[in-house]
Subunit: 369 residues, 2 copies
């Protein structure tokens, strides 16, 4: 990795690991007869987006209008905006020529506003909450689904596509918990199909979280999956069991600026503006990221772990193993596996591949785009 | 504030509050005979940077080379980079024409590398650690200071300017704790002046944290102050007692996309990519930001508090007061006071003033620059 000439905090992407993650998820989808409609909020990159096409992906998911514009303007279509539709954006939606963009609805009020003001055909999913508690119509409240569908039926513009579940509580679950969450998703889709499939024969059921999509082997009642994080994975997913640490496709390369020998601490230029403040409690301590050693091919995982024990805006303090303390010197570059890769990518706004190619990110814009 | 036409998450800046904060700190500095060398890492904005000049500021502090370049290129000089110097950047430092840029040193090794490779005159501060534990030479280890000064003396290029302390543990202290921290800073500077002032007659002692600079009234042994956060303040500073909530100069304006009446919850478009994941534990619950109500003049503070109880990448869930639940509707815009304004500004990358002017930020670049 010496050719990268890293001098400042830099987000490094291993294309090979990334493509392996894409390939694995595409294989899983194929094996279970699922359409893969991946979420692009993790990478937010046109170039990385292109890679998915090599694994058969034709439809994508995003979490904001800003993100939808970014991909649409560069030739992506069939974009689903998986965020409760903001009624202040009806005129923006009307202004988009591409009719393949779909939206997400969670209540009667917004559906009503759209039924009145929408000027072009738009598909929508109804988001269902099976217990995460963040957003969506609770599965117990079928009357709210009826109300949304009734309001939508007053407009020839609104086209019901199906139901969407993001069971984000799987991010806080163990393997047993993830099995339980998957069962809840399947039961919700079973109920919804039993009630609505006869009237809406084309409706599909889509489920979105990386843990269930990475781990489960029973997808009955699920037609499509929309995971995002799997493109890079991270320490959170490795701890859940969605992946191993070797599957993590990005690291933050950070310069060593001081070494505190007595404390087994290493000060690096890597803080909350680079990694985000996402944190896990592992083995009784806060962990803002884990150390890997850089080598000529990329990076390797140490036999003795070291981790980021604290970060502020620009500073990071590593609690270092004896192994690391023995080999490190000021001016070295160290790798940090992120706790939450979506947030780290959003902080860093661009990537550098192992062969030195700069890769775009929506927030950094236009490096390759 | 209706003229702002906010439809998406937008960082709103009240210039009047911001200028009042600048004026207050400049007055405090003047009263105590201190030079104010404010830290610009909080706002990272050329336009806001210009405002400081109205209050007599001529020297500034930044936390990275990237930030130094941004301000230097637009006519700012006397920039101090208050981050342990990264030895990989010696050639970058040599490449900067402006000789008024100063750096920060914390160890003998980097000083030695600079003494060998520096090609132009550069001032430096030695950072001292009085107990924060993040960076700097511990005040108990005067022999390390001697080693830095000895290495520096081998070069005619390295010019010792003085000692710098950022007592960041004040961010986690109460009023009594902040008094104690200030005493530690003063005692450290007393010891350092006693030992080094006779040889380095021009040396100054600079202290950097917003809590001590906002609250204390005794600055003996301190010559200069370098606070940053005070330009905007935030909930963290209000809880410490550095300011009141009315002194907070920025809010995130966020659209309401769903209301969960039974749960007293409001779903907004505002997540970790907008506010950062910084969080406080207040009154026994996690708090990612506090609600203010928008009005035609800006915003007002509710008599019944509501707060952000959880956030993910793009979603935020407000625990709402009965007062807020009674008045809110989907499609409204709500204001969120940030927990940590430096991080929120870094996430949002631009500001909009109450009269609709867009204001630049380093990461967003060039709106007004």
């Amino acid at each position: 990795m010496e050719k990268l000439e890293v001098k400042n905090p830099t987000l490094i992407l291993d294309e090979k690991i990334c493509r392996q993650n894409l390939s694995n998820m595409a294989e899983r989808a194929k094996k279970h007869g699922l359409k893969l409609v991946p979420h692009f909020k993790t990478h937010q990159s046109l170039l990385i987006g292109e890679w998915y096409k090599d694994y058969g992906v034709q439809e994508i998911t995003v979490s904001s209008f800003k993100m939808a514009y970014y991909f649409k303007d560069k030739g992506f279509s069939n974009i689903h905006i998986a965020f409760p539709f903001n009624p202040l954006l009806i005129s923006d939606l009307n202004g988009i020529q591409d009719q393949s963009i779909s939206i997400q609805l969670v209540n009667e009020e917004v559906t009503k506003a759209l039924a009145t003001d929408l000027t072009k055909e738009t598909g929508f999913f109804i988001e269902i909450d099976t217990g995460y508690g963040r957003t969506g119509v609770p599965i117990g409240k079928l009357e709210e689904i009826d109300a949304i569908l009734r309001e939508a039926s007053f407009s020839h513009k609104l086209k019901f596509k199906g139901f969407y579940i993001h069971a984000g509580h799987s991010y806080y679950a163990d393997l047993e918990g993830i099995h339980k969450i998957q069962k809840e998703i399947q039961e919700a889709f079973r109920i919804l199909k039993a009630k609505y499939k006869s009237q809406y024969t084309e409706l599909v059921c889509r489920s979105g979280d990386t843990p269930t999509c990475s781990i489960m082997d029973d997808f009955e009642y699920i037609d499509e999956i929309g995971p995002g994080n799997f493109v890079f994975y991270d320490i959170t997913q490795a701890e859940i069991g969605s992946c191993s640490r070797e599957d993590i496709a990005i690291i933050l390369a950070a310069p060593v600026v001081d070494i505190k020998k007595g404390n087994n601490e290493i000060l690096i230029h890597a803080g909350g503006v680079h990694l985000s403040k996402d944190v896990l409690n592992l083995n009784g301590h806060k962990n803002f990221g884990e150390v890997v050693y850089l080598n000529e091919l990329g990076w390797e995982h140490p036999t003795a772990p070291s981790y980021l024990k604290s970060i502020s805006q620009e500073h990071g303090t590593i609690h270092a193993s004896a192994q690391l303390m023995d080999s490190i010197k000021i001016g070295d570059i160290i790798g940090i596996l992120p706790i939450h890769s979506c947030m780290t990518a959003d902080c860093m706004k661009e990537y550098k591949t192992l062969n030195g190619r700069m890769v775009d990110h929506l927030e950094g814009r236009g490096i390759t785009g």
